[in-house]
Symmetry: C2
Subunit: 529 residues, 2 copies
C-alpha cells in the first residue's frame, strides 16, 4: 500500500446537464456558524459560482458585499438584543449560576426555562426575517429575477427553507445543530438505546439509568422542537403557503445534508443516503506564526505551550473563575497563550500571554503545542483532532458538554466542570493531559483516522452542492417516509391489525372448541339420562 493510494479517481461526472457558474442563495447563521459557511462560500466562489448571502442589518460577523459574495441586507423592524454580543455573555452568566445550584429539579427546570426563552427569542427573530422577505415584494422579485439554482442554508435558523419552497429550488443544508437537536435526529432513525440525544452528555454505551434519561431528553427535545421552535415558522408557513404545507416536512425534505460530523468524534449511528459527512472541512495545515508569537512559543523550550480559547460566542468568564485559571497556569513550566477579553486576572503568571485574538489553527499545528484548553465548540474540536492536540475541555453551553464527553470517551480529552473549577482541580487536569501519554497517543490516532479520507471534506461539500445544481436536486437519495402519518411510519396500524387478526383467530378457535364441547356434552347427557 502506498502512502498516497494512486487510485485512478475516475471522475465519472456527466457533462450533459452541467451548469457553468451556478447561482446560489445562502441563508447563514451568525457567529461561529458563519465561520464555517463563509469558508464554503469562498470555495464555491473559487469554483466560479455566484453567491448571494442574506444577512440582517445588525449582523456581527456577516459583512456586506465582499470579494466572494453579494449580499441582501434585511433590516428588521425591532432589533432584538440577540444580535448583540452581550446577549450571550448574559445568557452564559445565568447558565453558570444555574449549573452551580447543582442537579436539583428546580435548577433543571430553570436551566431549560432559560434555554426555551433564548431559543424562542432567536427563532422569533429569524422568523421576522422571513416576514420581511416575503412582505417585501421588490426584494422577492429581485430574488426571483436572479434565477437562483439552489438555496444553501444553515438550518439552525431555517427560514431559508421557506424561501426555497416559494422559489421551488433544491436545498442543501450545512448542518450539525438544527432547531433543538442534532440534524440526524430530524432525518434518520435514532434509537435512544444507543444514540445519545443532543443536550444529554452520555456515551453510546449507556447504563439503564442513562438510557432512561436519554429517552426523556429525546422527548424533551421533541417538545422543544414542536412547541418552542417550530411554531414561529408554522405561522409563516400557514400565512404564505396555506394549511397543506408543513414546516417540518420542508425541513426534512432537504436534498442534501452536509453534516459537520466525522465519526472519529461522533459515535457511530444510523444515517441516511442523502447525508454527506463534512466534519473537519475547515481544517487545513498550519501557517507560520508572526515573529512575536513564534518567539514567545519558542521561549517555552522543551516544555512547549498550552493554548486556551473559548470560542467566538463567549468573550470572557467571570473573574472568580479566571483568577483560578490564571493561578493554575502560573504553576506550570509550559508557556500559555490565552484568548481573553474582559477583566485581566491580577494573578497572571509570567508564562501566560493574554491575547484578544489568536491564530488558533496555526498554534494548534505548531510542533510545540502540547494541549488545548477549549470550551468544546465543534470548530475548535475538529482543529484539535486534525492537528492531534489533546484537549482540556471546559464546556459552557449548548452541545459543548456532549462534544468534550465524546473526546473524553475516546481518551483524548479531560473534562473540567467550569462551575466547580478550582485552581487545584484545573491544575490536576492540565498535568494529567500533559504527562499521561495516552491522551496525546489517542488524539494522534483520531487525527490519523480523520485525515484518511478519499477526498477532503471541503471538496466533498462542494461536489455535492454542484451535484444538486447539475441534477436540480437529489431526490433519489432522499426518503419521503416523513410524509407518512406517525402511526403508519411506526407500523402501529399494521401491528394493531395483526393483533386483531390474531385475537379473532384465537377467539374463533376458543368458540369452536366451546361449541364442540357443548355439542359433545349435549350428546352425552341424553345417553346418561
Amino acid at each position: 500500500m502506498g502512502s498516497i493510494p494512486g487510485l485512478s479517481l475516475l471522475l465519472l461526472v456527466v457533462s450533459v446537464s452541467s451548469v457553468h457558474g451556478g447561482k446560489i442563495l445562502v441563508f447563514p447563521v451568525d457567529g461561529s456558524h458563519w465561520v464555517n459557511m463563509n469558508l464554503l462560500i469562498q470555495s464555491l466562489h473559487a469554483r466560479g459560482h455566484e453567491v448571494t448571502v442574506v444577512r440582517t442589518a445588525t449582523s456581527w460577523y456577516i459583512k456586506e458585499n465582499t470579494a466572494h459574495y453579494h449580499s441582501i441586507t434585511v433590516t428588521l423592524p425591532e432589533a432584538i438584543s440577540i444580535e448583540d454580543q452581550d446577549f450571550f455573555v448574559t445568557f452564559l452568566v445565568k447558565m453558570l449560576a444555574i449549573q452551580k445550584q447543582g442537579g436539583s429539579l428546580i435548577s433543571f427546570a430553570n436551566f431549560y426555562w432559560e434555554i426555551f426563552t433564548v431559543l424562542s427569542k432567536i427563532h422569533q427573530q429569524a422568523s421576522l426575517l422571513g416576514v420581511e422577505i416575503f412582505e417585501n415584494k421588490t426584494l422577492m422579485q429581485r430574488i426571483r429575477d436572479t434565477d437562483f439554482d439552489m438555496v444553501l442554508l444553515d438550518p439552525g435558523l431555517p427560514v431559508g427553507v421557506l424561501v426555497a419552497h416559494e422559489l421551488k429550488l433544491p436545498t442543501v443544508f450545512n448542518v450539525r445543530w438544527i432547531t433543538s437537536g442534532e440534524g440526524h435526529f430530524v432525518v434518520a432513525p435514532s434509537p435512544t438505546s444507543y444514540v445519545p440525544t443532543s443536550g444529554f452528555a452520555a456515551p453510546d454505551k449507556m447504563t439503564f439509568v442513562q438510557r432512561v434519561k436519554n429517552l426523556l431528553h429525546y422527548l424533551l427535545n421533541t417538545c422543544i422542537d414542536r412547541f418552542v421552535v417550530c411554531p414561529h415558522y408554522d405561522r409563516l408557513v400557514a400565512r404564505y403557503f396555506g394549511p397543506d404545507v408543513s414546516f417540518y416536512h420542508l425541513l426534512q425534505g432537504a436534498d442534501i445534508w452536509l453534516m459537520r460530523v466525522d465519526f472519529v468524534f461522533e459515535f457511530p449511528r444510523p444515517t441516511m443516503p442523502n447525508i454527506v459527512y463534512i466534519g473537519g472541512f475547515q481544517c487545513k495545515p498550519s501557517e507560520p506564526l508572526s515573529s512575536e508569537l513564534e518567539e514567545f512559543v519558542q521561549s517555552s523550550g522543551e516544555h512547549g505551550f498550552i493554548l486556551m480559547a473559548l470560542g467566538t460566542l463567549v468573550k470572557g468568564l467571570p473573574v472568580e473563575i479566571t483568577s483560578e485559571i490564571a493561578a493554575a497556569f502560573a504553576q506550570i513550566p509550559q508557556k500559555v497563550i490565552w484568548r481573553h477579553v474582559g477583566e485581566r486576572p491580577n494573578n497572571l503568571g509570567n508564562n501566560t500571554l493574554l491575547v484578544k485574538w489568536m491564530p488558533q489553527n496555526d498554534l494548534l499545528g505548531h510542533p510545540k503545542a502540547r494541549a488545548f484548553v477549549a470550551h468544546g465548540g465543534t470548530n475548535g474540536v475538529y482543529e484539535s483532532i486534525y492537528h492531534g492536540v489533546p484537549i482540556i475541555g471546559m464546556p459552557l453551553m449548548f452541545d459543548q458538554f456532549e462534544n468534550v464527553l465524546r473526546l473524553e470517551a475516546r481518551g483524548a480529552a479531560k473534562v473540567v466542570e467550569v462551575t466547580k473549577l478550582t485552581q487545584q482541580n484545573f491544575l490536576e487536569a492540565i498535568q494529567e493531559v500533559l504527562h499521561n501519554p495516552s491522551y496525546r497517543r489517542n488524539m494522534k490516532r483520531l487525527s490519523e483516522l480523520h485525515r484518511d479520507k478519499p477526498m477532503h471534506p471541503l471538496d466533498t461539500a462542494v461536489y455535492w452542492i454542484e451535484f444538486v445544481m447539475r441534477h436540480k436536486g437529489a431526490s433519489h437519495l432522499r426518503t419521503e417516509s416523513f410524509k407518512m402519518r406517525w402511526y403508519a411510519y411506526y407500523s402501529v396500524d399494521v401491528l394493531c391489525f395483526l393483533l386483531a387478526v390474531l385475537l379473532l383467530l384465537a377467539a374463533a378457535v376458543v368458540a369452536s372448541v366451546r361449541f364442540l364441547c357443548f355439542r359433545l356434552c349435549r350428546r352425552r347427557k341424553p345417553k346418561q339420562e
Copy 2:
C-alpha cells in the same frame, strides 16, 4: 460548473501506518457473485496486494492459482449437488411450476419450503467448508503463518467470519445479499413501513396491505435467518469458540460493508457509517465488438437491436416458454441477440441470433442497443443503468423480482411474469419499451445520476479495503449496539419502567385524592350528625 469538477481531491492519507503490499484472505461465493469478487481481487492485485482465495475442489468458476491470486483448495467430504450447475436449473423449474399455481396459501408454502430446502443445503455445504478448514491443522497453521492483514468475504456464505475471528483479523464484506436478506437489514434499522423487505417485491411507498405483507415478510426472513441459515454456523461457533461467541454478532461486527448498492436503483433507506456503497463497481465503458457480431448488429439499421440474457446461474428456460419468446422476437424489425443454452426453439425468426456467451457490457454500450431482456440480476441491472438501456424484466428467482420492480417504479423497465408469458404479452412489453420514449429517457437519467460520483465505486472499494489494513479495522465507524439485549436495544425495559413510574404516580394521586375525600367526608359527617 465545469463538466468535470476540478476539485483538488486532496488525498489526506496518513503515511505513518501504511502497509506496503497487504495480504488479503478472500472467502468468495461462486457463480455471479464471483464475477464481482474477482474484479475486486484484480484491482487489489494491481495495487500490489497479495490475495489468497479459498475455494472448494468442485468450484465452477473459481479457478486455482491465477496470475492475480493464490488459492487454497479445500476438498469437501461429500460433494453435494449444489456445486452442480444443474442444481439451479432443477430449482428454477420447480419454482416456475409453483409460481404457475398462483397465489394460494399452499403454493406460497411450497415456494418457501423450496427456498428453505435450497438455503439449508447451500449453507450446510458452506459450513462443511468451515469444518474442513478448522479441522485441518496443517492448513490452519499455513494460514496463520501467512500473517494476513484482513479477511475479505462475500457473507452470502459467511464461513469466512469464523476464520477471521479465529485469526483476530479485521473483516470487509463485499455484500448485497446476505444469508436470507439484503445486507442492510442485518446492520441498520429497517422500518418496515417504508423499507421493502428482501423477498417482497414492493415499492417504498406502500399501501396498508403492502405494509402488512412487508412486516410478515420481515418476520419470515428473520425466521429463515435464525432457524434455517444460522444454525449451521451456530454449531461451528459453539464447537470452535464456545458459548460466549455469537455467530450473528460476528456477522454484524464486520468493519466495512462494501454494499453493491446505488440509490438510482435501490430505494433510499437508513444506513450505517461503516457501509460504503459500491453499486455498479463492475461497470466500465464498452469495447468494440468482434467483427461478426458488429456486422450482425449493424445489419439492424435504424431499428437497432435487443439483447436477452438470464444471467450466469440459469442457462435455459423450459421450451414452452422459449418458443413463445422466439415467436415474439420474430415479429419485430429489431435484430435480437439471445444468450441461450439448451433446446433451440424451432420457431426462431431470421432476426434472432442464439449465442452461448455474449459480451454483455460491450453490447449494452453499443449505440444501436435499444433494450435488454434480462432476469434482473444486479450485475446486468447495473450494466444496463450504466449504459442507459431500458429493461424488459423477466425475474426468475431470489432478489430478481425486487430488482426489476425497483426499475419499473422509476419508469425504466417493464416487467413480464415468466409464468404467464405469452407471445402476445411479451411482444407488447417489447413494443412498449421500444416505442414509449419515457423508458429510455428515465434510464438515461438514472445513468447520469449513477455516473456522477466523486470516485469510481471500484476505487472506493479498494480505498476502504486499504483503510482497514492501514488502521487494522474501522471500529470507529461501527456501532456495537448489536451486542445489546433485544429489550434494551428496543428500549422495551425503559418504556416499561417509565410506564410503571407513571402508573405509580397516577395511583399515588388517586390514593391521595381518595384519602382526602374520605377525611373530608368523615369531618363533615359528625357536623351533620
